[in-house]
């Protein structure tokens, strides 16, 4: 075990040393630390229920749905690829060394404890929003963080056990995946049935997620109950959750530690997948990573010169989308934006569409930061095409604009019907959404041109988000002022669209130079 501890000790020490050697990296980390501290203080210090006093039923419903989604997606991926605590270096150097597999597993588990920090950070970012809308107990923040830790520790263990079981016999994978899907469909069915009967969102959540079966359901129910203590207090379900999760994690670790283990093959595929995902993330391609490519899509490539890029992107988009351009990011933006509006108080009916628009733009900002052009810039083809940089940039980004237009039409038509908005406002939102998408696309390219040499891709991503927020804020502020003066939602949308148009054109002019040569892009 001492050799494993040596790796952990040295890794930490060398990483700290490296940060102090590179000022840009140090500044980046300081920014992140400052941000985390601010979020931490805000999460604990801010009072609860500032915006409204949302019901506990809605709170527990949201928490349970989030954990169902997280467990469902991670466990399904775990069954498919095997979950892993390890890196390829571990596979190549420790798995073949004369060390007991059980000790290596323990080392992996200790490493995972460090990994929970990322989950805690994500959870921490959500707490101010939750506190604004719900009456949380003084210790509420701790309960959410505790539940997050339990989630982060339990899912790789459960995944590993599940994968070990399915790997032993063909056919088991299908059985387990179907069982998970059935459970998910059953839950969705229950929600729809209850919604149909009650025609009330809160009532439905109360029926489906606030009954004893859901609250005491192993793992998902237990984890949710721990988080729910932040509004409900230390109820029986909380204690069942705490002891249930502790028992589960301890029993699995001890079981795995004592067992005659032969798990190397189980984690090998997962580790390879994880390494590829990590590489994609470093290159800013995690949005497109792991997408299934539909071979059934047939489309002839056309266009000449720079326009060939456009038709290639169209084909790529269609191959990785569910239908036409409707893909994972479309679903995320549409569902999140509409849910956001539904969760808002009822007294803002007249600006429903703008609320959907603003939240959709926030989501798009996070998603489009990992856009398709980044992948194009990693390769040499775009630089070699005999056309002007302006032509190439235009055609290389056109498919992205069309996708945004397509998503915008779908999102705002749905929202328009749902919130009974005027058609002209719907059209305004579609245009504003598409133009703002163009701003994100071109600012992403300009940031690459200006800060492309920043060592860390994560830090570059952080800079990109910051730049985008800074340039879009004046448009947002102008839009709000217009709204206050005219009290007309359409004018507000037009103000935002106008600002986005000016920005998009300006950014386009300045960013075209990135396609001069490979050096300006890296």
């Amino acid at each position: 075990m001492s050799s494993m501890l040596f790796i952990m000790r040295k890794t930490l020490k060398n990483h700290i040393k490296e940060v102090f050697k590179k000022p840009v990296l140090l500044i980046g980390y300081l920014f992140i630390v400052l941000f985390v501290i601010t979020m931490f203080i805000a999460s604990f210090a801010m009072p609860s229920g500032l915006v409204r006093h949302g019901s506990n039923v809605l709170y527990t419903g949201i928490i349970t749905i989030v954990f169902i989604f997280m467990y469902y997606t991670t466990l399904k991926l775990g069954i498919e690829k095997g979950s892993t605590y390890f890196r390829m270096a571990d596979v190549n150097l420790t798995f073949t060394a004369p060390i007991k597999p059980n000790n290596i597993l323990l080392y992996g588990f200790i490493k995972q404890l460090g990994g929970t920090l990322i989950f805690l950070f994500v959870a921490l970012c959500q707490i101010p929003n939750l506190k604004n809308n719900f009456d949380m107990k003084p210790y509420g923040t701790w309960m959410i963080l505790l539940a997050t830790v339990f989630y982060a520790l339990s899912y790789p263990l459960i995944s590993m056990i599940m994968y070990s079981w399915v790997a032993k016999k063909s056919g088991r994978k299908k059985i387990l995946k179907r069982a998970l899907d059935t459970l998910a469909l059953l839950t969705a069915g229950l929600v729809l049935l209850s919604l149909f009967r009650t025609r009330n969102v809160v009532g439905t959540i109360d029926n489906v997620f606030n009954n004893p079966i859901a609250r005491y359901f192993p793992v998902i129910g237990w984890t949710s109950s721990i988080a729910n203590a932040s509004v409900k207090g230390f109820t029986t379900e909380f204690w069942v959750g705490i002891f249930g999760m502790m028992f589960l994690i301890l029993a699995t670790v001890i079981g795995l530690y004592r067992a005659n283990l032969d798990y190397y093959e189980d984690v090998l595929e997962g580790t390879e997948f994880f390494e590829a995902a990590r590489k994609a993330k470093r290159e800013g391609k995690n949005l497109t990573f792991g997408l299934k490519v539909r071979d059934s899509v047939k489309q002839k490539l056309s266009g000449t010169g720079a326009s060939a890029l456009f038709f290639k992107h169209l084909l790529e988009l269609r191959k990785t989308s569910y239908v036409l351009f409707f893909d994972r990011s479309s679903v995320s933006v549409i569902i999140a934006a509409i849910m956001f509006r539904l969760a808002m108080p009822k007294g803002v009916q007249e600006i429903s569409l703008s609320m959907v628009l603003f939240f959709a733009l926030y989501m798009l900002l996070l998603l489009q930061m990992q856009g398709r052009l980044g992948t194009e810039l990693e390769k040499h083809y775009v630089f070699l095409i005999p056309a002007s940089p302006y032509q190439k940039l235009f055609f290389a980004t056109l498919a992205e604009h069309i996708k945004n237009l397509f998503d915008g039409i779908f999102l705002f038509m749905m929202s328009g019907i749902l919130f009974k908005a005027q058609l002209i406002n719907v059209l305004g939102c579609i245009i504003a959404y598409t133009l703002s998408g163009a701003v994100y696309t071109y600012s992403d390219i300009l940031t690459r041109r200006l800060f492309g040499r920043i060592h860390s891709k994560g830090l570059l991503l952080f800079v990109k988000v910051l730049v985008n927020i800074l340039i879009i804020i004046p448009g947002g502020v102008a839009a709000v002022i217009v709204m206050m003066i005219t009290e007309n939602e359409l004018f507000m949308i037009c103000a935002l669209a106008g600002w986005s148009f000016v920005l998009a054109v300006t950014l386009f002019m300045f960013s075209a130079g990135i396609l001069n040569n490979l050096e300006t892009a890296s």
């Binding site: 001492s2 050799s3 040596f6 790796i7 040295k10 890794t11 930490l12 060398n14 990483h15 490296e18 890196r87 390829m88 270096a89 596979v91 190549n92 150097l93 420790t94 798995f95 073949t96 060394a97 004369p98 060390i99 007991k100 790997a167 063909s170 032969d262 190397y264 093959e265 090998l268 390494e275």
Partner: protein
């Protein structure tokens, strides 16, 4: 030293390796050659104890997954992967600790010097090129002074000087009584080093012969390779 008996490996419905049997003796260099997808890497990974398999693999008379067997074999994987934040020297120190080596620093210094890595001791994994990572990977495998060592496509990414050095090392290992197994699909890279050739195709060993046996029959490795993997016409 290395005995593989009826090794079979199946991934779901795909039979990757089918009843493969061979032996590599002490002081012998065996080459496992075959086209892409022949099952070479699966065989090597099974021997290294990374995969579950049917059949029997022993190293120095011990089951390959036992701690005793692991103490005596080295493994150079197809794709080198190092700890990003660990320096070259840290990697060697880790290996020394994991294998319980004593007085290893002299050997480590020599190995690094032979691969021109002695001035890069303090460089961390993520700052090394692929070729340099491969060199560290080889140094780690050889630091333990193995009695059996496996190389999976060892020449890829190496510069000409390192390739020359590695070939010399193959002979030194052989002369010290170590059993060496090299997996590759580039015949030229191992033309002058092998004692025993194992040709794999579609998961099976289709040819197993020593250099002396082939020489007595007047066969060339390249000809046999193409005749066994592509058919006699292609070999012509």
């Amino acid at each position: 030293m290395l005995k593989v008996k009826n090794l079979t490996k199946r991934y779901d419905k795909i039979l990757a390796v089918n009843k493969v049997s061979f032996e590599i003796n002490s002081g012998e260099i065996g080459v496992l050659i075959g086209p892409n997808g022949a099952g070479k890497s699966t065989t090597i990974k099974s021997i290294a104890g990374l995969l579950r398999f049917d059949g029997e693999i022993t190293i120095d008379g011990k089951p390959n997954k036992s701690i005793e067997a692991k103490r005596v074999f080295g493994y150079v994987p197809e794709t080198p992967a190092l700890y990003e934040s660990l320096s070259v020297w840290d990697h060697l120190e880790f290996i020394a600790r994991a294998y319980g080596l004593q007085d290893w620093t002299g050997t480590a210094e020599t190995l690094l010097a032979r691969f021109d890595m002695d001035d890069k001791k303090n460089k961390v994994g993520k700052d090394l090129s692929k070729g340099m990572q491969q060199k560290v990977s080889i140094c780690c495998a050889l630091l333990i002074k193995p009695r059996m060592v496996m190389f999976d496509e060892p020449m890829i990414g190496l510069d000409p000087k390192a390739i020359k050095e590695l070939k010399e090392m193959f002979f030194e290992l052989k002369n010290s009584g170590c059993a060496v197994l090299i997996s590759t699909h580039i015949l030229d890279s191992i033309a002058d080093v092998w004692d025993k050739a194992l040709i794999m195709n579609k998961g099976e060993i289709v040819f197993n012969s020593t250099r002396d046996e082939m020489a007595s029959k007047g066969e060339s490795l390249e000809h046999v390779f193409f005749s066994k993997t592509e058919g006699e016409e292609e070999a012509q």
